[in-house]
């Protein structure tokens, strides 16, 4: 199916039955593969002169971003445009949430305006699932609290598969603030379901041992994974108000966990360097390493479009069947 021409024949939606994508945890491996295969078919659209297919023509997509985001919102927006959907963006400040309207009421109003797909970014874990169970419209999770960011994990998996040719059996290290990271959680579920070995690296406060129960290894020294990793995924490290009791400062973080030039030199030559962005140059990753030949950081961004096209397309076709 991944060789089909989207202009004339859209990808087969086969066994996909979900109107929503709220997380990776509940997906079967086959469902993840189906999204990746569908994304591969859609990826070709972006490199054409006319970057558009009619898959969602006449459909209305609402980018409902209660928590601010630029890159994910634009990626969903462009993905929707390429599928010929009509797109409206709303944020917390432009919605009635500010006037005290509940999330559910705002969403019901959007549905009353015949929204077909609501893409939700929200600071509360579970908010997309909450809406998905209460709306006829499709709900796609664009990041909910520290819970999941499924399309990020899917685009990461897509990038790995595209670069290496497979995911099964690869050793993937995820480094940084895992505790507060929805990207980490969705990546763990995706990679485990596709047969990779996942190692988490970070300070004991931000990578509690409880994560081992999710089927991953936890280590405290980044040097322990450098030589064996096939992929190293560096998460953005933040040192905001609520993180102050978790580690002392960014300098100390870089000293123990940053991918410096010296550390990068120990990586296998074909080890992929990934980052969900936005990157802090010189903190979790050296600036030159981020721009270096092993870095696939910008490929991730490009692939995000294809993956999001696939997700929107599959969820919408499943919703139509209902």
């Amino acid at each position: 199916m991944n060789t089909a021409k989207p202009e004339t024949s859209l990808p087969d939606n086969g066994q996909w039955h979900r109107k929503d994508l709220v997380g990776i945890r509940e997906l079967e491996p086959g469902e993840i593969k189906m999204i990746l295969d569908t994304a591969a078919a859609f990826k070709t659209v972006g490199s054409r002169d006319i970057k558009k297919v009619p898959a969602l023509r006449g459909k209305t997509l609402i980018n409902f971003f209660v928590e601010p985001s630029t890159r994910t919102r634009i990626s969903f927006e462009l993905a929707a445009f390429r599928l010929s959907a009509d797109v409206v963006n709303i944020s917390a400040t432009t919605s009635s949430l500010q006037k005290g309207e509940t999330l559910k009421d705002t969403a019901l109003n959007l549905q009353a305006l015949h929204a077909d797909i609501i893409v939700l970014r929200h600071s509360s874990a579970g908010a997309p699932k909450f809406l998905a169970e209460r709306l006829v419209a499709s709900v796609v999770n664009a990041g909910d609290g520290a819970h999941e960011h499924p399309t990020q994990a899917l685009l990461d998996a897509f990038t790995i598969r595209e670069q290496v040719g497979r995911i099964e059996g690869l050793r993937v290290a995820i480094v940084g603030d895992i505790l507060f990271s929805r990207v980490a959680r969705s990546n763990i579920w995706t990679l485990k379901k596709l047969g990779a070995e996942v190692t988490l690296v970070g300070p004991s406060t931000l990578v509690p041992r409880t994560f081992e129960e999710m089927g991953v290894e936890v280590v405290r020294r980044i040097d322990d994974v450098l030589e064996s990793a096939d992929v190293i995924n560096l998460l953005r490290i933040q040192h905001e108000r609520q993180r102050k009791e978790y580690f002392p400062n960014l300098n100390e973080y870089t000293r123990f966990f940053g991918l410096t030039k010296a550390r990068a030199a120990k990586l296998k030559p074909n080890c992929l360097i990934m980052h969900p962005g936005p990157i802090n140059r010189g903190i979790e990753i050296d600036g030159e390493i981020a721009d270096g030949p092993q870095s696939v950081i910008l490929d991730q961004v490009t692939n995000g479009l294809a993956v999001r096209m696939a997700v929107l397309y599959l969820c919408n076709t499943a919703a139509r069947k209902v």
């Binding site: 945890r25 874990a125 579970g126 699932k129 909450f130 929805r182 959680r185 999710m214």
Partner: protein
């Protein structure tokens, strides 16, 4: 208000009575002799007849939150659950931290309550944990214990002085054991599921550290401290040791903390959000063990009504708490008596009658002649399904809709008057 309750199995742990006999109520009080003149006869031949059950931990929400519950609706639910007395918590609006609010509650209860309502007063003004509330004046207005329930006094010195002061009135101090710093923004048990779901965790230690504090204070001040709604197996261990050393510290558990575990929150259903939170199976087992060996002496509901719309929001923003009055007896009978067989029904009745009555010095929980005619008639083997839409509460926030339970109160009698029957 004359009754002959015929041929029931009378279980009255206060006088160690367990026999099939008739029970008499004359002029609203338990009597050793049968009434003369007019009386009602109730056939209890298939049932257990006990002192009216007491729920030590209930939120009736009045004054100030009557959109969630009122004293009238809350006590209707209590009656339907088999309870003749409820002890209500002071986290109302305004908080019950002064004699006028206590008097208002007593007044409202006189007008509208179906069962006995005994108010508690706040430990500190405004439940803020800073200044001592006028405890003595509230005792005169009718409180039977103090607690900042819903909140927890963080300053150990403030707590120490309140406990010391309460001793003067022979008043039990009840405590919602929660260290605020360690809980932070936690909304569920800290463990595998909080990790997997990305919800802020609420570690066991946040309860245990305050339980340990309370044990130390109970010993220091030689005053009764009662730890409310225990959830952690570690707390049970601390209490077991302390009680073995004769320290006057007691504890209660609520049915949801042994009927459910944190795994349920994978649904993000806010009816699984309570304070303190649902914990792991290990804790459930240790709590039940604590009931079996007598470490935990009181069963209670922590009945916490919230309006539908208040719970119908994002999980981390939803209020904590669930209903309990109409399901607690059925759940505890099903789990503790029929299921795990951790205790027999006599012990269960002890934990709902004489134990709470003794703790807060209520002349209730007994069928001794002369006592108020508060009686609960229980069918311990009745199999029934709880239906949320049949609840008497103003609210509907319970995860137990549709649960099949074994054992239920079939009649509730307050002062000789039947206030509810199946």
């Amino acid at each position: 208000m004359n009754l002959i309750i015929k041929s029931g199995r009378i279980i009255d742990p206060s006088i160690d009575r367990d026999e099939v006999a008739d029970l008499y109520v004359v002029n609203g009080q338990i009597s050793a002799t049968a009434p003369t003149g007019e009386f009602e006869t109730i056939d209890a031949s298939r049932y257990i007849v006990t002192p009216g059950l007491i729920d030590l931990h209930v939120h009736l929400r009045e004054p100030g939150q009557s959109n969630k519950e009122t004293i009238e609706t809350g006590t209707r639910a209590a009656a339907a659950g088999g309870f003749t007395s409820v002890i209500c918590m002071p986290n109302t609006e305004p908080p019950a931290d002064n004699p006028s609010t206590i008097a208002w509650i007593a007044d409202r209860a006189c007008e509208s309550a179906l069962v006995n309502v005994f108010p508690t007063g706040a430990i500190t003004k405004g439940l803020k944990g800073e200044e001592m509330a006028p405890i003595g004046s509230m005792v005169q207005a009718g409180i039977i214990a103090i607690t900042d329930d819903g909140h927890c006094v963080q300053n150990h010195e403030v707590m120490r002085r309140a406990v010391e002061y309460a001793r003067m009135f022979d008043l039990a101090v009840m405590d919602h054991c929660q260290d605020y710093n360690m809980v932070g923004s936690g909304v569920m048990h800290e463990g595998y599921w909080s990790t997997a779901l990305g919800l802020a965790g609420w570690p066991r230690i946040a309860e245990e550290i305050i339980v340990a504090r309370n044990i130390l204070l109970a010993e220091l001040c030689d005053t009764r401290i009662h730890c409310q709604h225990l959830t952690s197996g570690g707390s049970v261990r601390f209490l077991r040791d302390a009680r073995a050393r004769g320290i006057p510290v007691t504890a209660e558990i609520c049915p949801h903390h042994i009927a459910l575990t944190d795994e349920r929150i994978a649904t993000f259903d806010t009816n699984y959000k309570m304070n303190p939170p649902l914990r792991a199976q290990k804790d459930v087992d240790q709590l039940i063990e604590g009931v079996a060996d007598g470490t935990i002496t009181v069963l209670a509901s922590d009945h916490a009504p919230h309006a539908y719309f208040e719970k119908e929001i994002e999980f981390d923003q939803a209020p904590f708490g669930i209903l309990g009055l109409e399901t607690e007896l059925g759940l505890f009978l099903t789990i503790l008596v029929h299921g795990t067989k951790a205790i027999d029904i006599k012990r269960l009745i002890t934990m709902y009658t004489v134990n709470p009555a003794t703790l807060v010095r209520l002349p209730k929980g007994t069928l001794n002649p002369g006592a108020d005619g508060d009686i609960t008639i229980i069918d311990p083997d009745l199999e029934w399904t709880f239906r949320n839409d049949e609840s008497f509460s103003r609210s509907r926030n319970t995860p137990f809709d549709g649960w099949e339970l074994k054992g239920r109160a079939v009649r509730t009698i307050v002062g000789g008057k039947t206030v509810w029957s199946l």
